[in-house]
Protein backbone atom coordinates (compact mmCIF):
# COMPACT_ATOMS: atom_id res chain seq x y z
CA UNK A 1 0.00 0.00 0.00
CA UNK A 2 1.32 3.44 -0.96
CA UNK A 3 1.78 6.06 1.71
CA UNK A 4 0.76 9.70 1.45
CA UNK A 5 3.78 11.74 0.20
CA UNK A 6 5.25 13.84 3.02
CA UNK A 7 6.98 16.56 1.01
CA UNK A 8 5.13 19.60 -0.30
CA UNK A 9 3.85 19.17 -3.88
CA UNK A 10 6.14 20.57 -6.58
CA UNK A 11 3.74 20.07 -9.47
CA UNK A 12 -0.01 19.96 -10.09
CA UNK A 13 0.16 16.20 -10.41
CA UNK A 14 1.68 15.85 -6.95
CA UNK A 15 -0.87 18.29 -5.54
CA UNK A 16 -3.70 16.20 -7.00
CA UNK A 17 -2.25 12.95 -5.66
CA UNK A 18 -2.27 14.37 -2.13
CA UNK A 19 -5.65 16.12 -2.42
CA UNK A 20 -7.44 13.07 -3.80
CA UNK A 21 -5.77 10.51 -1.53
CA UNK A 22 -8.06 7.50 -0.80
CA UNK A 23 -10.99 8.93 -2.77
CA UNK A 24 -12.86 6.73 -5.27
CA UNK A 25 -11.47 6.57 -8.81
CA UNK A 26 -14.56 8.25 -10.26
CA UNK A 27 -14.32 11.10 -7.74
CA UNK A 28 -10.59 11.42 -8.33
CA UNK A 29 -11.22 11.75 -12.07
CA UNK A 30 -13.79 14.49 -11.53
CA UNK A 31 -11.60 16.48 -9.15
CA UNK A 32 -8.58 16.06 -11.42
CA UNK A 33 -10.43 17.40 -14.46
CA UNK A 34 -11.84 20.36 -12.50
CA UNK A 35 -8.56 21.35 -10.85
CA UNK A 36 -6.57 20.86 -14.05
CA UNK A 37 -8.94 23.18 -15.93
CA UNK A 38 -8.74 25.68 -13.06
CA UNK A 39 -4.93 25.52 -13.05
CA UNK A 40 -4.70 25.94 -16.84
CA UNK A 41 -6.93 29.03 -16.70
CA UNK A 42 -4.90 30.47 -13.83
CA UNK A 43 -1.57 29.93 -15.62
CA UNK A 44 -2.92 31.44 -18.85
CA UNK A 45 -4.28 34.46 -17.00
CA UNK A 46 -0.98 35.05 -15.18
CA UNK A 47 0.98 34.71 -18.44
CA UNK A 48 -1.30 37.25 -20.11
CA UNK A 49 -0.44 39.60 -17.26
CA UNK A 50 3.24 39.22 -18.07
CA UNK A 51 4.47 36.40 -15.81
CA UNK A 52 6.90 33.92 -17.33
CA UNK A 53 5.49 30.39 -17.67
CA UNK A 54 7.47 28.80 -14.82
CA UNK A 55 6.59 31.62 -12.42
CA UNK A 56 2.95 31.49 -13.51
CA UNK A 57 2.81 27.75 -12.80
CA UNK A 58 4.38 28.22 -9.38
CA UNK A 59 1.95 31.01 -8.46
CA UNK A 60 -1.07 29.04 -9.72
CA UNK A 61 0.03 26.03 -7.65
CA UNK A 62 0.56 28.19 -4.56
CA UNK A 63 -2.88 29.76 -5.05
CA UNK A 64 -4.46 26.31 -4.84
CA UNK A 65 -3.29 26.19 -1.23
CA UNK A 66 -2.38 23.30 1.00
CA UNK A 67 -3.12 19.98 -0.71
CA UNK A 68 -3.59 18.18 2.61
CA UNK A 69 -6.23 20.67 3.77
CA UNK A 70 -8.04 20.38 0.45
CA UNK A 71 -7.79 16.58 0.66
CA UNK A 72 -9.24 16.57 4.18
CA UNK A 73 -12.17 18.66 3.00
CA UNK A 74 -12.73 16.48 -0.06
CA UNK A 75 -12.81 13.39 2.15
CA UNK A 76 -15.55 15.04 4.25
CA UNK A 77 -17.64 15.61 1.13
CA UNK A 78 -16.98 12.46 -0.87
CA UNK A 79 -16.84 8.72 -0.27
CA UNK A 80 -13.42 7.22 0.31
CA UNK A 81 -12.16 3.76 -0.53
CA UNK A 82 -12.43 2.86 3.16
CA UNK A 83 -16.11 3.83 3.14
CA UNK A 84 -16.60 1.57 0.14
CA UNK A 85 -15.03 -1.39 1.91
CA UNK A 86 -17.31 -0.84 4.90
CA UNK A 87 -20.42 -0.43 2.75
CA UNK A 88 -19.56 -3.58 0.86
CA UNK A 89 -19.18 -5.55 4.09
CA UNK A 90 -22.40 -4.09 5.45
CA UNK A 91 -24.32 -4.94 2.29
CA UNK A 92 -22.95 -8.48 2.24
CA UNK A 93 -23.84 -8.86 5.87
CA UNK A 94 -27.32 -7.48 5.27
CA UNK A 95 -27.89 -9.98 2.51
CA UNK A 96 -26.57 -13.06 4.26
CA UNK A 97 -28.91 -15.72 5.65
CA UNK A 98 -26.39 -16.40 8.41
CA UNK A 99 -26.60 -12.84 9.73
CA UNK A 100 -30.37 -13.03 9.60
CA UNK A 101 -30.25 -16.11 11.79
CA UNK A 102 -27.86 -14.46 14.24
CA UNK A 103 -30.08 -11.40 14.50
CA UNK A 104 -33.12 -13.60 15.12
CA UNK A 105 -31.28 -15.47 17.85
CA UNK A 106 -30.15 -12.22 19.48
CA UNK A 107 -33.63 -10.80 19.37
CA UNK A 108 -35.03 -13.94 20.97
CA UNK A 109 -32.33 -13.89 23.63
CA UNK A 110 -32.91 -10.26 24.55
CA UNK A 111 -36.63 -10.68 24.67
CA UNK A 112 -36.41 -13.77 26.84
CA UNK A 113 -33.88 -12.29 29.27
CA UNK A 114 -35.37 -8.81 29.25
CA UNK A 115 -39.06 -9.64 29.39
CA UNK A 116 -39.57 -12.95 31.16
CA UNK A 117 -36.58 -13.20 33.39
CA UNK A 118 -37.79 -15.02 36.50
CA UNK A 119 -35.83 -12.83 38.94
CA UNK A 120 -37.55 -9.62 37.89
CA UNK A 121 -40.86 -8.14 36.92
CA UNK A 122 -41.67 -8.28 33.23
CA UNK A 123 -41.29 -5.09 31.19
CA UNK A 124 -44.72 -3.62 30.31
CA UNK A 125 -45.82 -4.93 26.94
CA UNK A 126 -46.89 -1.48 25.63
CA UNK A 127 -43.47 -0.01 26.39
CA UNK A 128 -41.73 -2.84 24.63
CA UNK A 129 -43.94 -2.56 21.58
CA UNK A 130 -43.65 1.26 21.39
CA UNK A 131 -39.88 1.21 21.42
CA UNK A 132 -39.57 -1.73 19.06
CA UNK A 133 -42.09 -0.26 16.61
CA UNK A 134 -40.40 3.16 16.64
CA UNK A 135 -37.09 1.55 15.86
CA UNK A 136 -38.73 -0.53 13.17
CA UNK A 137 -39.92 2.62 11.43
CA UNK A 138 -36.32 3.82 11.33
CA UNK A 139 -35.38 0.34 10.18
CA UNK A 140 -37.76 0.52 7.25
CA UNK A 141 -36.32 3.81 6.12
CA UNK A 142 -32.79 2.47 6.47
CA UNK A 143 -33.72 -0.66 4.57
CA UNK A 144 -35.21 1.25 1.67
CA UNK A 145 -32.11 3.38 1.41
CA UNK A 146 -29.94 0.31 1.59
CA UNK A 147 -31.91 -1.27 -1.22
CA UNK A 148 -31.29 1.81 -3.32
CA UNK A 149 -27.68 1.62 -2.28
CA UNK A 150 -27.44 -2.01 -3.32
CA UNK A 151 -28.91 -1.03 -6.70
CA UNK A 152 -29.37 -4.57 -7.84
CA UNK A 153 -31.47 -5.66 -10.79
CA UNK A 154 -33.51 -8.04 -8.63
CA UNK A 155 -34.79 -5.23 -6.44
CA UNK A 156 -37.77 -6.97 -4.91
CA UNK A 157 -35.90 -9.97 -3.53
CA UNK A 158 -33.19 -7.78 -2.11
CA UNK A 159 -35.68 -5.33 -0.73
CA UNK A 160 -37.53 -8.08 1.10
CA UNK A 161 -34.32 -9.49 2.53
CA UNK A 162 -32.98 -6.09 3.52
CA UNK A 163 -36.27 -5.06 5.07
CA UNK A 164 -36.51 -8.21 7.09
CA UNK A 165 -32.92 -8.02 8.13
CA UNK A 166 -33.06 -4.40 9.15
CA UNK A 167 -36.32 -4.88 10.99
CA UNK A 168 -34.91 -7.71 12.99
CA UNK A 169 -31.49 -6.15 13.36
CA UNK A 170 -32.82 -2.87 14.61
CA UNK A 171 -35.40 -4.65 16.74
CA UNK A 172 -32.67 -6.55 18.48
CA UNK A 173 -30.90 -3.28 19.22
CA UNK A 174 -34.13 -1.78 20.50
CA UNK A 175 -34.81 -4.77 22.70
CA UNK A 176 -31.27 -4.56 24.01
CA UNK A 177 -31.64 -0.87 24.85
CA UNK A 178 -34.96 -1.56 26.45
CA UNK A 179 -33.47 -4.27 28.55
CA UNK A 180 -30.63 -1.98 29.67
CA UNK A 181 -32.99 0.92 30.23
CA UNK A 182 -35.14 -1.16 32.49
CA UNK A 183 -32.01 -1.75 34.56
CA UNK A 184 -32.67 -4.33 37.21
CA UNK A 185 -34.07 -6.76 34.74
CA UNK A 186 -30.86 -7.10 32.76
CA UNK A 187 -28.84 -9.97 34.11
CA UNK A 188 -25.54 -8.78 32.64
CA UNK A 189 -25.56 -5.63 34.72
CA UNK A 190 -27.05 -7.11 37.86
CA UNK A 191 -25.96 -10.67 37.61
CA UNK A 192 -26.23 -13.02 40.54
CA UNK A 193 -24.39 -15.76 38.67
CA UNK A 194 -21.61 -17.65 40.41
CA UNK A 195 -19.12 -17.32 37.56
CA UNK A 196 -17.67 -13.74 37.42
CA UNK A 197 -15.97 -14.46 34.06
CA UNK A 198 -19.37 -14.96 32.53
CA UNK A 199 -20.29 -11.43 33.52
CA UNK A 200 -17.19 -10.06 31.83
CA UNK A 201 -17.81 -12.09 28.70
CA UNK A 202 -21.40 -10.98 28.54
CA UNK A 203 -20.40 -7.39 29.13
CA UNK A 204 -17.73 -7.56 26.40
CA UNK A 205 -20.24 -9.05 23.97
CA UNK A 206 -22.72 -6.35 24.90
CA UNK A 207 -20.18 -3.55 24.36
CA UNK A 208 -19.13 -5.01 21.00
CA UNK A 209 -22.72 -5.31 19.84
CA UNK A 210 -23.69 -1.80 20.93
CA UNK A 211 -20.51 -0.31 19.40
CA UNK A 212 -21.17 -2.13 16.14
CA UNK A 213 -24.73 -0.89 15.94
CA UNK A 214 -23.77 2.68 16.85
CA UNK A 215 -20.95 2.66 14.29
CA UNK A 216 -23.36 1.37 11.65
CA UNK A 217 -25.86 4.12 12.44
CA UNK A 218 -23.22 6.87 12.35
CA UNK A 219 -21.70 5.59 9.12
CA UNK A 220 -25.11 5.17 7.63
CA UNK A 221 -25.93 8.83 8.29
CA UNK A 222 -22.69 9.93 6.60
CA UNK A 223 -23.10 7.65 3.60
CA UNK A 224 -26.71 8.63 3.10
CA UNK A 225 -25.59 12.23 2.69
CA UNK A 226 -22.70 11.39 0.40
CA UNK A 227 -24.36 8.84 -1.81
CA UNK A 228 -26.77 11.33 -3.30
CA UNK A 229 -23.96 12.98 -5.24
CA UNK A 230 -23.80 11.70 -8.77
CA UNK A 231 -20.04 11.44 -8.91
CA UNK A 232 -19.84 8.75 -6.24
CA UNK A 233 -20.04 6.06 -8.89
CA UNK A 234 -22.21 3.10 -7.94
CA UNK A 235 -19.96 0.79 -9.89
CA UNK A 236 -17.16 1.58 -7.49
CA UNK A 237 -19.34 0.45 -4.66
CA UNK A 238 -20.48 -2.94 -5.76
CA UNK A 239 -18.42 -4.59 -8.45
CA UNK A 240 -19.27 -8.04 -7.09
CA UNK A 241 -22.26 -10.06 -8.15
CA UNK A 242 -25.21 -10.17 -5.74
CA UNK A 243 -25.50 -13.24 -3.54
CA UNK A 244 -29.28 -13.08 -3.53
CA UNK A 245 -31.13 -13.86 -6.77
Amino acid sequence: MKLLPRKAPQSLDEWLIIATWTLLPSVKARIRSEIEAHYTDAVQSLMLNGSPETAAQAIALANLGDARTAGRRFRQKQLTQFDVVQIRILLQFARSKFSLGIELLLLGLFLIIGMIHPKSDPIPFWLCMTVVLSYNLVGISAAVHSAVLARRPSTLANLRRLLLNHLIGVSSFAALLLAIFCGQRWTVLHSKTDNPHMDLLQMAALICLVSYKVACCLNYLRWRKLLITADNDWNDLSPRQPTVA
Binding site: R30, A37, H38, L64, G65
Partner: protein, 108 residues
Protein backbone atom coordinates in the same frame (compact mmCIF):
# COMPACT_ATOMS: atom_id res chain seq x y z
CA UNK B 1 -4.64 44.37 2.61
CA UNK B 2 -6.22 40.98 1.86
CA UNK B 3 -7.11 38.85 4.85
CA UNK B 4 -8.28 35.30 5.14
CA UNK B 5 -11.80 35.16 6.49
CA UNK B 6 -13.13 32.10 8.21
CA UNK B 7 -14.12 30.82 4.80
CA UNK B 8 -15.13 27.40 5.95
CA UNK B 9 -18.35 28.99 7.10
CA UNK B 10 -18.91 31.85 4.68
CA UNK B 11 -17.50 30.56 1.40
CA UNK B 12 -20.59 28.45 0.55
CA UNK B 13 -22.81 31.52 0.93
CA UNK B 14 -20.53 33.57 -1.30
CA UNK B 15 -20.62 30.79 -3.90
CA UNK B 16 -24.42 30.76 -3.83
CA UNK B 17 -24.46 34.54 -4.19
CA UNK B 18 -22.12 34.31 -7.18
CA UNK B 19 -24.24 31.64 -8.87
CA UNK B 20 -27.34 33.81 -8.49
CA UNK B 21 -26.23 35.60 -11.66
CA UNK B 22 -26.15 32.37 -13.66
CA UNK B 23 -24.17 29.15 -14.18
CA UNK B 24 -20.45 29.46 -13.66
CA UNK B 25 -17.34 27.30 -13.35
CA UNK B 26 -14.92 27.02 -10.44
CA UNK B 27 -12.13 29.27 -11.68
CA UNK B 28 -14.47 32.10 -12.60
CA UNK B 29 -16.36 31.78 -9.30
CA UNK B 30 -13.08 32.15 -7.39
CA UNK B 31 -11.95 35.15 -9.45
CA UNK B 32 -15.31 36.91 -9.24
CA UNK B 33 -15.52 36.50 -5.46
CA UNK B 34 -12.02 37.96 -5.10
CA UNK B 35 -12.76 40.80 -7.53
CA UNK B 36 -16.15 41.64 -5.97
CA UNK B 37 -14.48 42.02 -2.60
CA UNK B 38 -11.79 44.18 -4.27
CA UNK B 39 -9.16 41.70 -3.17
CA UNK B 40 -10.04 42.00 0.51
CA UNK B 41 -11.34 38.47 0.79
CA UNK B 42 -8.61 36.07 -0.13
CA UNK B 43 -8.81 32.30 -0.01
CA UNK B 44 -6.95 29.31 -1.32
CA UNK B 45 -8.62 28.20 -4.51
CA UNK B 46 -8.18 24.49 -3.76
CA UNK B 47 -10.72 24.79 -0.94
CA UNK B 48 -13.36 26.10 -3.33
CA UNK B 49 -14.04 22.68 -4.85
CA UNK B 50 -14.81 20.80 -1.61
CA UNK B 51 -17.26 23.64 -0.83
CA UNK B 52 -18.85 23.27 -4.28
CA UNK B 53 -19.13 19.50 -3.84
CA UNK B 54 -20.69 20.01 -0.41
CA UNK B 55 -23.30 22.40 -1.83
CA UNK B 56 -24.03 19.90 -4.58
CA UNK B 57 -24.49 17.11 -2.03
CA UNK B 58 -27.03 19.32 -0.24
CA UNK B 59 -28.75 19.88 -3.61
CA UNK B 60 -28.31 23.64 -3.33
CA UNK B 61 -26.50 23.61 -6.68
CA UNK B 62 -26.26 21.21 -9.61
CA UNK B 63 -23.42 20.69 -12.04
CA UNK B 64 -23.00 19.69 -15.65
CA UNK B 65 -20.03 19.41 -17.98
CA UNK B 66 -20.03 21.78 -20.94
CA UNK B 67 -17.55 22.55 -23.66
CA UNK B 68 -15.85 25.93 -23.31
CA UNK B 69 -13.03 27.09 -25.60
CA UNK B 70 -12.69 23.52 -26.80
CA UNK B 71 -12.25 22.18 -23.28
CA UNK B 72 -14.82 20.41 -21.06
CA UNK B 73 -15.66 22.54 -18.03
CA UNK B 74 -17.95 21.69 -15.13
CA UNK B 75 -20.50 24.46 -14.66
CA UNK B 76 -22.45 24.90 -11.45
CA UNK B 77 -25.99 26.19 -11.32
CA UNK B 78 -28.15 27.37 -8.43
CA UNK B 79 -31.24 25.26 -7.68
CA UNK B 80 -34.52 26.51 -6.22
CA UNK B 81 -33.50 25.07 -2.88
CA UNK B 82 -30.21 26.94 -3.18
CA UNK B 83 -31.99 30.19 -4.01
CA UNK B 84 -34.14 29.87 -0.87
CA UNK B 85 -31.08 29.01 1.22
CA UNK B 86 -29.31 32.10 -0.14
CA UNK B 87 -32.21 34.38 0.80
CA UNK B 88 -32.18 32.94 4.31
CA UNK B 89 -28.39 33.19 4.67
CA UNK B 90 -28.38 36.77 3.39
CA UNK B 91 -31.05 37.83 5.86
CA UNK B 92 -29.12 36.22 8.70
CA UNK B 93 -25.91 37.90 7.59
CA UNK B 94 -27.55 41.33 7.32
CA UNK B 95 -29.02 40.94 10.80
CA UNK B 96 -25.68 39.81 12.18
CA UNK B 97 -23.62 42.54 10.51
CA UNK B 98 -26.24 45.15 11.48
CA UNK B 99 -25.91 44.11 15.10
CA UNK B 100 -22.10 44.28 15.00
CA UNK B 101 -22.21 47.69 13.27
CA UNK B 102 -24.59 48.93 15.94
CA UNK B 103 -22.18 47.88 18.67
CA UNK B 104 -19.22 49.56 16.94
CA UNK B 105 -21.19 52.77 16.39
CA UNK B 106 -22.17 52.82 20.06
CA UNK B 107 -18.52 52.40 21.01
CA UNK B 108 -17.43 55.39 18.88
Amino acid sequence: MPFAMNFKGSLPTLILQNLRRGPNHGYRIAQEIKQSSKGVLDFKEGTLYPALHGLEAKKLITSSVREENGRPRRHYKLTDKGRKALVRERQEWLQFSGAINGIFQEAT
